[in-house]
Subunit: 236 residues, 2 copies
């Protein structure tokens, strides 16, 4: 049996599948490796498959006509992406690009549909996935609409801390390499503004900056600077 199987097992969604089902699934999907910074799919691509990230990290986003980039989400190993193709649209609306060297599993639309039809539990899992992601994005929308750039940035940092924060001496380090431009693309701001605001926050002793690296030294003061409860520390 192929070693690839562990990729599938790693995905929450497929936990409930039996050994033989997993094996069958495994024979029906392809594995591709991508170097850092390469597109997995583009907005013009045919949306005929669902993807599962085995290793690495992927970002989902889109470009406006004027070339501005919006980052909608980051995908971690074990997560499914490109799943809106299940709705039966022909074309992708966004692009997916590797942020690091990544391994991706391609599951064709038909195979996935079949899987859903045969396994109600998996179908339920997909529904929940959709729901969770929708809630996440609704929250983001609500927050972005009526807050200043500074508030949005701090909010984002706290979110990142939840997901990627690791306690180190002197604070919580964000274990995800993001440039100021990336941060700006998430909150809908500009690179310069992000640089300035981060500088201010550092001057205020709330965090420490490194190259593509941020350490939150005082989460409590960060949080109360936007009047929000301190989030629990996630990560390893």
């Amino acid at each position: 049996m192929s070693e690839r199987l562990w990729y599938l097992k790693r995905c929450d969604l497929f936990q409930r599948l039996g050994q033989e089902q997993l094996a069958t699934l495994e024979t029906r999907c392809r594995v591709r490796k991508f170097p850092r910074g390469t597109p997995v799919y583009l907005p013009s691509d045919l949306a005929d498959s669902v993807l599962l990230l085995a290793e690495g990290r992927v970002k989902i986003g889109s470009f406006t006509e004027e070339g501005k980039q919006t980052i909608l989400a980051f995908i971690e190993p074990g997560e499914l992406f490109g799943e809106l193709s299940l709705l039966g649209s022909e074309q992708r609306e966004e692009y997916a690009e590797t942020v690091e060297k990544s391994t991706v599993i391609l599951i064709s639309g038909e195979v996935m549909q079949q899987l859903l039809a045969d396994n109600p539990e998996v179908a339920l899992g997909v529904t929940k996935l959709f729901g969770l992601r929708r809630r996440r994005i609704e929250r983001r929308l609500k927050y972005l609409l009526f807050h200043s750039n500074r508030e949005r940035l701090v909010h984002l940092l706290l979110e990142l801390a939840e997901q990627y924060g690791h306690a180190v001496e002197g604070g919580v380090e964000l274990r995800i390499k993001l440039s100021h431009q990336d941060l700006a693309n998430v909150i809908g701001s500009t690179r310069e503004t992000v640089t300035v605001v981060l500088g201010e926050l550092q001057a205020e002793g709330r965090l420490k900056l490194g190259r593509r690296k941020i350490v939150l030294t005082d989460i409590a003061r960060l949080a109360d600077s936007i009047s929000v409860a301190v989030p629990p520390l996630g990560g390893a």
Copy 2:
């Protein structure tokens, strides 16, 4: 058999159910009527049910701490709402409020869960619903992030035209009563700004304003003012 049944039939999601299933469902849900402008549920409410709008119109939204209102969506008859409660959260995150006198069907969480378990097709329908709404909101987010107030407003008007536009002499009338404040709450702007921009658009001959009423007199010029393809005219 109760006349209420037609409410259920009207919902796409329940099309596939058999007569007896519909009848059973009907006995298990409650019907409530709300006058115009009353809350159906609030953010603090227990999220233990799903709702189906039979008649009227409902808006979904939320408030920021400072009292700013965000409108996330409008719900039309036959549409399901409050469906994120299916994810098993305890509390609502948003509020729902009637925009017009409305009739709402309450389906308790357990009943709905049972329904999904028994009818894979319905479950699939819910998945698609989630997916579609998520896509819609992702589009909105992308658009809002990097466009001016004027562009956002025009974009919104065009969207509304797709959904609520009716051809009348002299243009396309939006058959949904929205105040400038409402529009502002959708695009994340202020009432005054919306008033001014609408005034400009009227002066430019792109639309005509009435009290809580807008007629788009020149959709093509509206659309190209934000460089977008003209949407098809929906409605009756």
